[in-house]
Assembly symmetry: C2
Homo-oligomer: 348 residues x 2
């Protein structure tokens, strides 16, 4: 069987090198490596998985930059396979908690097969009546991000006004729905008519607007929130944040989830309106999902129930084929994705 072993090819997407400014597809290269067999090395506690879905997430941009300050994420290694969240099937396992056939989600590689040396980071998928790709989104990192970001960081109360930017994205669409479920008044912004329609007609936002069509964001927000914003779920940063600060109500809360408008700028956009924090007694809090992993089990049960009952819906933008992964990731930063960006590597 030696011949069969050496014949296994593994298509991969490698990270070429550190990026300044907007990344391009050329910053990632396709390669094919041969793997000896579809078995974990003898005596290893690793797990070999076949990747089914890969996730494109904004935080990955940070991993493409040359590390200057310590961050909560490790930079990618030039010349090595890109890593990120994904859904996979266990092919072989040296670890007692996993066996062939198990479906898992967690950090994997942008390749057909990945050898996961610390399989404890993988989560076994419990519910398979829900689309597997959802474990890169609503039932994965973005889902828990929206859940803790809204419920833990924003301290929401029924009847409050909530504004969500990048509202049709992987996280934003859920924040809006959580806010509606709590009885808040919710307005979202996004960058196209199609996305705005989704917000209003699919996700049930009370209102929505295309920020690209607004010359004056401060005035736009004043129009949508004549009495001000209690809660802002911040996904974009820059000018939008300054406009929001002017429109916040006293004792407002801002959950800073991400600043996608800034990730690709070599010179960051400035903010000028932080004095509003004092005059309006605003709490502005950054957070990342890994700090709140302990809430995943309770979140999962709730989200699965809501999905089954139709109380939560989720829109994905699925690109088919590993070779589409680089363009899919780049597209995030141009707002090309409509909904959560996923890459289908294999259906099973």
């Amino acid at each position: 069987m030696e011949g069969e072993k050496s014949s296994v090819e593994n298509k991969q997407i490698l990270f070429k090198g550190y990026v300044a400014g907007y990344p391009t597809e050329e910053d990632m290269v396709q390669a094919t490596s041969a793997i000896g067999s579809l078995k974990v090395p003898e005596g290893s506690a690793a797990v070999l998985v076949k990747n089914l879905y890969l996730s494109c997430d904004p935080y990955m941009r940070g991993r493409m930059s040359e590390p200057v300050t310590k961050s909560y994420t490790q930079p990618f290694t030039p010349g090595s396979v890109i890593t990120g969240y994904g859904v996979a099937k266990v092919i072989d396992s040296g670890h007692p908690d996993f066996q062939a056939g198990d479906l898992v989600w967690g950090i994997t590689g942008w390749e057909e097969y990945s050898l996961i040396r610390v399989p404890q980071v993988l989560v076994k998928i419990k519910y398979t009546d829900i689309p597997l790709s959802y474990y890169t989104g609503i039932l994965g990192m973005p889902g828990l991000t929206a859940y803790v970001g809204f419920h833990e960081i924003c301290s929401p109360k029924k009847g409050e006004t909530v504004y969500v930017s990048a509202a049709s994205g992987a996280v934003g669409q859920l924040v809006g729905q959580f806010a509606k479920l709590m009885g808040c008044y919710v307005v979202g912004s996004a960058g196209s008519k199609e996305k705005v329609d989704l917000l209003k007609n699919k996700f049930g936002f009370d209102d929505a607007f295309n920020y690209k069509e607004e010359e004056d964001l401060t005035a736009a927000l004043k129009r949508y929130f004549p009495d001000g914003i209690d809660i802002y779920f911040e996904n974009v940063g820059g000018k939008m944040l300054d406009a929001v600060l002017l429109n916040m109500r006293n004792h407002g809360r801002i959950a800073v989830c991400g600043l996608i408008s800034q990730y690709n700028l070599t010179e960051k956009e400035a903010n000028y309106n932080l004095f509003c924090l004092v005059t309006k007694r605003i709490r502005m809090q950054g957070f990342i999902e890994p700090d709140h992993k302990h809430l995943y089990p309770e979140f999962l049960e709730l989200a699965v129930e809501y999905i089954r009952e139709g109380k939560l819906v989720y829109v994905e933008d699925v690109a088919e084929g590993l070779d589409k992964a680089p363009a899919s990731l780049i597209g995030l930063f141009k707002g090309r994705n409509v909904g959560k960006q996923v890459v289908l590597v294999s259906r099973d």
Copy 2:
């Protein structure tokens, strides 16, 4: 006695008109008005006070600007007497809670005598073994500001690292002492050698530096906090905040008390480092003292005890004479005051 009544003169400081940029002494004018008698109008529930000490506070700059957005403070009225915190003695009272001879602190006018039409805003002074001027500072608004800002907003823990800017000011000197009392490591910055000496030798800060002598604030903070800052008590804003953000530790907290470096700028300084809020999961919270008035009684008992025991000290910069009030207020924004800026109007 009619002749005596009409002879009472009341020296006043009037607000000339709205200011852009740095205010000058000429933005306030001295005047003398005659008051009919040293009695409250018949049937009125007002209180007539003789002002003893007047307080110069940074927030007053906001009241000198033409109102564009609603703020938590009312703008001064052009042509009218300036108002602010002060310590006063009741001369006559139409209100059952006050009688002649009572010592009070609260909002009064920049004049010798003030008729307080809503005396409920005045607090009767309970402890007179403490210098009366302290009720404009450590036992007044700045004291409660430091107390709630540090204990309520910063969520401090023993052993944490604390940085205070404008640290020798009315609020900063107390924040540093509260932090030391809790067992934190405290560094402060101020704008002169004299102030830095005070921080280290009078207030017991672990270390202190003159920010004007530092070309690179980020590097300076790195030197004083090689392992980063857990808590920043923000009094200044602008470039200092950006330098602090780069030096914050994960899960750090920033209490935004004021942004004195920005109050007199017609174009606000920009902030570029808000991405640190996410990567370091920082909570940044603005607050104002009036929201926490209910904590004053507990604060007062604690502070008085600490003052008597010598656990809290307080440095004031007392200008003698009402006519010194305009220059004293202007001086705040130039950092001329050493300690809490007070104006002595009358000793009794």
